[in-house]
Symmetry: C2
Subunit: 227 residues, 2 copies
């Protein structure tokens, strides 16, 4: 049984009651390309679900394949088990956030952060088709380090059985972002406080080989490119 609707390819996602923010609407976007770029430049999302009426938010890896987001975990983990047990699936919210800079204004009030975030509302279903599951697991590895799934031993039957994969369709999605310098009040411009942006970005360090790695195994190109 497939829960997937025909993929929508309109240039923007359709706004809904819960993807239109009550505040900061000028920072909201439904542009498909922008959403994809935010999702594709990260690999950790914060997955929210409701358990016994209360919210739970857990960090987890994800990968986008077309208009679907995949998340994986142990078959024993709570949200993955809940997605499998519940019908029709588990209500989730997945949020991906990149911080690009700290915005320092002359006034405390106008301090801000430059960021790009994507928020996905939807229903998570367990992936039961083995081909889709393998494809999703490859995508999860390649989403963190492009090219890596082809350069590692694929999951065997036992590992595959111990891994649960859930899928959420990208339908109810919004992006939000802020860029640029501080928006100080005109009457604050002459204050003696420094104003501007302190950029911030994740940076990779030098790869650390396992102590037990044979010397004959060279650092692969896809890591040299990242480091």
């Amino acid at each position: 049984m497939s829960h997937t609707a025909e993929p929508d390819t309109a240039p923007a996602y359709e706004p809904t009651g819960r993807t239109v923010p009550t505040r900061g609407r000028d920072r909201a976007s439904y542009d498909r390309e922008l959403v994809h770029s935010i999702l594709d430049s990260g690999y950790v999302c914060h997955l929210g679900f409701v358990r016994d009426g209360a919210p739970v938010v857990l960090p987890t890896l994800y990968a986008r394949v077309g208009e679907t987001l995949y998340v994986h975990g142990s078959t024993g983990s709570r949200p993955l088990r809940m997605a499998g047990q519940e019908d029709p699936g588990l209500d989730v919210c997945l949020t991906v956030t990149h911080i690009d800079g700290l915005v320092l204004a002359r006034s405390a009030f106008h301090h801000s952060v430059n960021y790009r975030s994507a928020v996905i509302h939807g229903t998570a279903y367990q992936v039961t088709d083995e081909d889709e599951k393998r494809m999703a697991l490859d995508a999860l590895v390649d989403h963190v380090v492009a090219g890596r799934s082809a350069d590692s031993r694929p999951a065997n039957a036992k590992e595959l059985a111990a891994t649960a994969v859930i899928r959420v369709d990208l339908a109810e999605v919004s992006a939000k972002s802020r860029a640029g310098g501080p928006n100080d009040e005109p009457e604050d411009m002459a204050l003696p406080h420094w104003a501007g942006v302190l950029p911030v970005a994740p940076v990779y360090g030098a790869p650390v080989p396992s102590a037990d790695l044979a010397e004959s195994v060279a650092l692969p190109d896809y890591l040299t490119a990242l480091g």
Copy 2:
């Protein structure tokens, strides 16, 4: 009316049904110092709450003051409004995650991520006391850039009225972390795939002054130290 209990100063938070993970218990900790260090080395959390029965996860700034976490936002923003309207407060989950490295194993299955995360379950209340609100706003600015609140114009009455602050006590809290290299299976050790860790950390770039900043305003020491 204060919602604050006498602060607990035991070396560890008391585990509860929802802070004991179903999986990966060896990675869970309730150590107070560890939780504090995870919270203090970040400034963006993912705030989860339930709206119309469905989960919502939004990125937002936070600051820890003792055994309390503060979050601020516009008085019009959804969770902050909900925390003010509802009695007794709004059920929330706040999660802070640091990614320290990508763990590349010989097998796809043993790929992992080195991380430190803290998950806080609790009830958010609006801060109505003006002194506490000002203290929390200073803490929020200083939590992002230490020393900054003293070097900016404090909020005036209008700005203070436009800002909502919510507080969550640190009581039901857990940390989770992973460190070290890949845990490959003995039978995979001879495979020709590189194995190890690719460290990753947020790095600050050179500060970018506002185009309208007077040349007489020098870069403050607290930014030189960060950059």
